[in-house]
Subunit: 248 residues, 2 copies
């Protein structure tokens, strides 16, 4: 705990003003002697200004009851995996807003955004793997530095997700298990249509496999539920596993 | 600024104990009446406990002079570029220690470490570029989240470094311009010997080019200087550009 000496001095003065007026009135009421009351007040000002300042500075050495003393929930990595159109980005955005509203550091890692910055990343198995591993490494470093991570990646391969899990500490694999038919029906980005027309190759769920997690921390469908409900379920699960600062 | 109410209450009590003893002695000395002094003390205890607690809670609303109020120097990305053996990692370690000793968040990104986590990264121009860009993207995210970054990468290509610079905000390109002859003579990892023997291909400085920066924020040789001196020069330059919390 630190604060500047100027702050301690200003605080001492503001307290003295209030407290000495109180003392003068008190002595006046008890004795009825105005001169005595003012003398007491004047001596008190000098003595207690020094005393109060010392008291303030001593308490700054005591971490009890301060922000630094509060037990912070650790940073977590929420890894959303699932088909294109399963609802990953939509739910990620709600999760991000939640962390921000709690005043916590958080970074959204999204497949589409990462690919803008790291070019020449295609969709072959090898390229996907490298892209996911590279993202996992970034998530690891952010987590280690106290930044929560929400990652929304199709990340179709079990083995690659296991490697990412091994890199991170507080890792939650969240499988958005929205059925392929529904994802294709939604087709938010028009990608299924393009893939069906043969304009996109290696499209997960069609001509490239999606390997669902065997034992994710959470498996949840967005079918017949609002994104807010799904996000809430993820946050509840997270709280049970890692605790939270929400009560603060 | 937050602190728990329990802390404010304990602080109020500890102050009251000190201050009321002081008041009782003061009234006793001024009037010579022990009963009056004790009455004054007792009334004061009740009145001022409440007053002090209120005063504490009000000051918690005032950010002036607190840590949150202090102007924090922004996070920076110190990008060390230069030949193998130029001293990048050695100097990076000293820089990292400096940030830590200041209580600042900092992450070291090092070519050798990153390559452990993201496999299948070779040394062709394309593979180097992707590796450096991927690192640059990680540096960007760490910087955005208030984590300082020290990156030690050969990063031989001007264009690629320019892309990394464009991704980050407070970016300092630091060219460790130790001459090739000296790097080869040091040959800490025995890589020059292997490259000369033809065991390593695409070795920067030998059969792969190094494009020195045209206008780096700092160009410094480790020839005839200790790593500590070079690190100090980098830190001085950084302070002049971005300010520092050192005075706090």
């Amino acid at each position: 705990m630190t604060e500047t000496k100027t702050r301690s001095i200003l605080k001492s003065l503001s307290w003295r003003a209030m407290a000495t007026i109180c003392t003068i009135l008190l002595v006046l009421v008890l004795t009825g002697e105005i001169h005595l009351a003012i003398s007491a007040g004047l001596i008190e000002v000098v003595l207690k200004l020094i005393l109060f300042y010392a008291h303030e500075r001593i308490w700054l050495k005591v971490p009890f009851g301060t922000e630094q003393d509060a037990e912070k929930a650790p940073a977590v990595v929420l890894w959303l995996t699932g088909l294109s159109g399963a609802g990953k980005s939509t739910i990620a955005k709600i999760l991000i807003q939640h962390f921000k509203s709690q005043g916590e550091r958080v970074q959204w890692l999204d497949g589409d955004v990462t690919r803008e910055f790291i070019p020449a990343t295609g969709f072959s198995r090898e390229e996907r793997d490298r892209h996911v591993l590279s993202t996992g490494f970034t998530a690891r470093l952010l987590e280690q530095n106290g930044v929560n991570v929400v990652a929304s990646y199709i990340s179709p391969f079990r083995e690659t997700r296991a490697k990412v899990r091994a890199m991170c500490k507080n890792f939650m694999e969240i499988h958005l298990s929205t059925p392929l038919e529904l994802c294709e029906q939604r087709d938010v980005k028009g990608l299924y249509q393009k893939a069906r027309a043969g304009e996109i190759k290696d499209f997960t769920g069609l001509d490239s496999p999606y390997e669902p997690p065997d034992s994710p921390e959470l498996r949840v469908t967005t079918e017949g539920r609002t994104p807010e409900e799904v996000a809430q379920e993820i946050l509840d699960k997270m709280r049970r596993r890692y605790g939270t600062n929400d009560a603060s």
